[in-house]
């Protein structure tokens, strides 16, 4: 596919009801597709993005030298082979890259929602994608795959609608955040909210809380890579040594984090950061599929879904140096889905790249995922 791809938008006419009961009117969903559906329309794979991702998962947009966020994994001959699979990726609910979120215009007021946007959950994100699949005429998917928060969506969607999927692929993720994971996210949110420019979420049309959001992203980036990688990459190297101003970044690692922070505020909305990290922290797969007040999914209570999971396949991947989503959390995922009679495989990839390995360690993931997908062929 040499020609550029573009993001499409689905406009939902009817009000969208969230799991909390809140309603969103005029919902929009940004999505991209790569490859073609086969005649049986059973070769679709849904890709789920992580915290800061977008619908632009692969290939190039016209005039943009940077490809989509998982381009190394999606394309002809790649892990998700677009010559064989119809690959779909959409921006999550609450995001800021085309799908409705706090920076979207509220049709009732004509102004951005800001904090009047209802809180969203991982389940709400996948429900929106269910609407998208219906729109695309896809009734059965070969697989659903994602890393980090993308893995959470994959687990939630698969657990809610097992008969929709032949398999799931969950990379560097968890069924629920630990106290430490919540703590890191909370520090990030506090950094945003402590910035006076945040202004209770009402900053649209003004300067956004760039300082706070970039600090949040800097904290994130510390957790995304391993200590060893950081040490090897930066050590105690310095840059710009004849700078006389005190407390100006001088270590390489400071410049790196600074760069990451600034790059992030240019492309991400601070309120979306708050909404999405909260959705991640509140995500708890086990209680969400067994809860009494459950109103979504094929099976209202845990236990009745077991037959639907029989013969379904799962693939869980973790990375040895990922201390943000440690391997034990992947073990727990395998254990849980095996208990529901799914047939789940597990691989732990040896790497120094930490959590970000799901974006950077392509070779190992490609071998594993390709073999897994190949064997699914009916």
């Amino acid at each position: 596919m040499d020609s550029p791809v573009q993001t499409s938008t689905l406009h939902l006419d009817r009000p969208f009801r969230l799991d909390s009961g809140d309603i969103i009117r005029g919902l929009t969903v940004a999505y991209e597709t790569y490859g073609e559906p086969n005649s049986a329309r059973d070769n679709a794979i849904l890709i789920e993005h992580a915290l800061s991702g977008s619908a632009h998962a692969a290939f190039f947009h016209r005039g943009d030298p940077k490809p989509g966020w998982w381009d190394a994994m999606i394309g002809p001959g790649k892990a998700f082979d677009t010559d064989r699979y119809f690959v779909i990726c959409s921006n999550v609910l609450g995001g800021c890259n085309g799908t409705s979120g706090p920076s979207s215009r509220n049709p009732a007021t004509g102004k951005p929602y800001a904090l009047s946007f209802p809180p969203v959950s991982i389940r709400d994100m996948v429900e929106v994608q269910r609407m998208l699949l219906a729109h695309l005429g896809i009734e059965r998917l070969r697989s659903i795959a994602g890393g980090s928060m993308g893995g959470m969506q994959a687990l939630q969607f698969f657990a809610d609608y097992p008969s929709l999927f032949d398999s799931f692929i969950c990379i560097a993720s968890t069924m629920r955040h630990s106290a430490q994971q919540i703590a890191f996210n909370e520090v990030g949110r506090r950094a945003v909210m402590a910035d006076p420019r945040w202004n209770g979420g009402d900053y649209y049309g003004d300067v956004p809380p760039e300082g706070g959001l970039s600090v949040a992203r800097m904290i994130g980036h510390i957790t995304y890579i391993s200590e060893k990688m950081m040490q090897e990459k930066f050590g105690r190297l310095r840059k710009g040594k004849d700078d006389r101003a005190v407390f100006r970044p001088s270590f390489e690692v400071e410049h790196y984090l600074d760069y990451q922070g600034i790059a992030f505020v240019r492309r991400f909305d601070a309120n979306s950061y708050l909404y999405i990290t909260s959705a991640i922290d509140n995500f708890d797969l086990v209680s969400s599929i067994s809860g009494a007040n459950r109103c979504r999914g094929e099976n209202r209570a845990r236990g009745t879904g077991i037959d639907a999971m029989r013969k379904k396949k799962g693939l869980v991947i973790s990375f040895t140096s990922d201390w943000l989503y440690p391997t034990q959390q992947s073990h727990d995922i395998v254990r849980f889905f095996s208990g529901l009679n799914a047939s789940v495989s597990f691989a732990e990839i040896e790497t120094d790249h930490g959590h970000d390995a799901f974006l950077t360690d392509i070779e190992g993931q490609t071998l594993i995922i390709r073999s897994f997908l190949d064997a699914l062929i009916p």
Partner: protein, 200 residues
Amino acid sequence: MIPEQTHSIIEQWIEPESRVLDLGCGDGSLLSRLVRDRRVEGIGVEISQDMIVKCLANGISVYQADIDRGLSQWDDLSFDFVILNATLQVIHRPHGLINEMLRVGRSAIISVSNFGFVRNRIRVFFDGRISREVRITGSWHNTPVIRFVSLEEFLHSLHEMDIDIVDARYFLPWGGVMKTRAVLDNLLVKGAVFMLKRET
């Protein structure tokens, strides 16, 4: 012991549609056979990523783990059969693992290569070294094969651990197979495969 010979005996022992865990499953060929011919629900365990990829390509569900670190991932009696085929010789803590196998499974199936077999003894006696056949790959310092156990010693271990032999096959050179022990078997048997249960 030819793999084919062991595989077909294991296949006879495995009940149709049972749940099977295969420790050190390699490329998944035994499990593939059991899935195809016995319709088992099987999962393999492997430490090597190359083998993980091969298992997945064969459609076998596989779990990457070091079985020497226990089977804590699985609940008590989650399997009907737990297999340890052609793998015992690389295990650091065999007693611990056998106990784990009989915790997570109703039955354990273990194949053993007999170090007391006459040919191995002759090799040690004349060459003063362990044969390449026993060591499988590498030299003394880097072969994964670290356990050299005789049939006699293995059976003694089972007795010590209060484990019952439900069924057994003893392999003779030139293709012969016995179902029960015989005179001088520690000298004449190349290897054996056992179906084991915890004494009740």
